[in-house]
Symmetry: C2
Subunit: 368 residues, 2 copies
């Protein structure tokens, strides 16, 4: 994998870059749609392609439980199995198995997490070694280290343990060899605690990985707390390597992240919002399609200046009707709009950075 | 509307024709996907277009209840409201309101059906006049007469009443003026009773409508009974007008219908099957994607000689995985296959009729 920094905004630190993988070149900043179980929720691959997605995320925990990494490896890896030929990134499964722990359904120790899955109820153990072995079999271009991700409201003592464990596990992950086309990213923990974030960051940077992620963000903290961590930490991530903010977001999150020098983001929000009849409005805020004024609004698209096929085609009244009658197509139409919003906003920010007008672009875009 | 009979198979009576409407020319035989509430279940319009659909069905009952025909008319009719620019046909709502009656939730008399809807519970009355007024507002190219559709196991006396009422209502429907681009089709009733079918047929033919449909078919009878009605009755429908068999079907149904001289069919089966993980196999039979052999079948498409995008792209193993994990995309992928199967089979039959090789084509196709 080769990362080329093309341009950095002198005022904000926002960056435009190229990330070259075996399965294609990724232009950053980039929003990555989430294909947890090998499919973006409700959206056919052709549409993901048409939306201009450059890389998608698979999930190690979910794919390990079903269908299992053996069959995916036998198919030739995630790309061949799911027929998405462009780059893939796999999350390590840490986030999922730690959410079992939060519900009292898992035992954590220094070797990893032991838990019963929520399907067949079998007992599993996933630690850094297992996560790497599964991700090796899955064959994504970018694989994530197995980290300890405490909840957003965790006590400092717990976050401290998480930071130390994440460091030890990162070292163990680096010892497992991946396939030639795969690269490992390490994940900075530390919650809201600047000193712990700094400790995690320094420890992981010393390991000289291919890329770095901010983890444990947007796991229950306030928006201000998320912004603060992103704004204060991003600048310390190595400048010559891709920087990934995990699990956000919204147009606001992307604005803050890119302005802080982040290159990559992922989130299930665009498709999840659509299942609740929600969409990103002009200013990036989440609005509901069920609002009263939409019932008879036959003239206006969801968002007036949006170039997505949904806004180019359908009225608010028609989309609201489909949602109220639980027509499955509305989830598709809203997801197309929401995914387009984030993919296109990332692309616009990239273009603005390259053309030295990022600050001006952000000011005019008026994302709140 | 202009119907041109291009060719009739001398052996079977199978026909190829052209049906010219304001919104486009329909090449027959044609399978019509069902967009009950203004959207084909789970399939975006772009895909319906890409599948080569020429005309779709809306439902008068459902669209009357929500969002109401006023707003659709205000939008410029079904085409403009739903953004499907090609021909539309609306069912009269008779089938739906009579299904309320079967569940003891409606009162039928010679003026129509009085019932409470299953949403807000408001009381409605729909008879021939109301159905025509609603369909006029909806603006479909082809509108269906409001008929009395008894269940498949109804006593002969009940079917006899249905035939007489359907005749009287057809006359009333013809008295209501439609929009200039709209044409009314009448619906033959009579259940499994050849004498009643004949009576209904002769009565309706005397009214000289733009097209004729066989109704009350596939409403609970055996496959053999359906085949018998289609085979014995189709030939009596006026040769110079389009013939529509309502509510079927399967590749088998299409084979029987086209061989009997039918030009048009519709059915929710292609999308309904997909929600149950079922698909049309090579020989037209319905099979399940959950079969054991599919778990590890990474090489074979659903149907080997199928040109649909699903079969051209995905393995059985991947599709089965998506279904078992309730990933919404599998309903899309299976629906694309099932719709393609019927649309393409219709197209192939048409081509064979035009090229004087229909009997040979059907023999080779081996639909059972």
């Amino acid at each position: 994998m080769k990362f080329t920094l093309q341009k950095t905004c002198a005022i904000t630190g926002a960056r435009a870059g190229l990330l070259e993988t075996k399965h294609g070149i990724i232009e950053t900043p980039v929003f990555m749609p989430v294909a947890t179980k090998g499919s973006v929720r409700g959206i056919p691959w052709q549409t993901i392609h048409d939306l201009g997605a450059q890389i998608v995320l698979g999930n190690t925990y979910h794919l390990h439980i079903r269908p299992g990494e053996e069959i995916i490896e036998k198919a030739g890896g995630l790309h061949a199995w799911s027929k998405w030929p462009k780059p893939y990134l796999t999350d390590s499964g840490g986030f999922q198995v730690f959410s079992f722990a939060r519900r009292g359904k898992a035992k954590i120790d220094d070797s990893g997490v032991t838990f019963k899955d929520d399907l067949a109820g079998n007992t599993h153990h996933i630690g850094p070694k297992e996560s790497m072995q599964i991700q090796r079999a899955l064959g994504a271009d970018i694989v994530m280290a197995f980290d300890h991700c405490p909840p957003g409201n965790a006590e400092k003592a717990e976050v401290e343990i998480a930071v130390k464990r994440t460091q030890a596990w990162a070292e163990q992950c680096l010892e497992i060899s991946l396939k030639p086309h795969q690269d490992l990213f390490l994940i900075v923990q530390g919650g809201r605690h600047e000193d712990l974030r700094q400790e995690s960051l320094e420890g992981l940077i010393s390991l000289n990985a291919s890329g770095y992620a901010l983890g444990g963000v947007s796991v229950g903290e306030s928006r201000e707390e998320v912004d603060k961590v992103v704004q204060s930490m991003s600048k310390y991530l190595p400048a010559d390597k891709p920087r990934y903010l995990m699990g956000v977001g919204t147009p606001h999150d992307l604005k803050v992240a890119v302005s802080s020098g982040i290159d990559m983001f992922d989130c299930v929000l665009p498709t999840r919002l659509s299942r609740h009849g929600s969409y990103f409005a002009e200013n990036g805020k989440v609005k509901s399609i069920t609002q009263k004024a939409f019932t008879e609004d036959l003239e206006t698209p969801l968002v007036s200046d949006c170039a997505c096929s949904t806004c180019q085609t359908f009225s608010r009244a028609y989309l609201k009707h489909l949602f109220l009658r639980s027509e499955l197509t509305v989830y598709y139409y809203l997801s197309v709009h929401n995914l387009h919003t984030l993919i296109n906003f990332s692309k616009q920010m990239r273009q603005a950075i390259l053309e030295d007008r990022f600050v001006q672009f952000i000011a005019e875009k008026n994302i709140i």
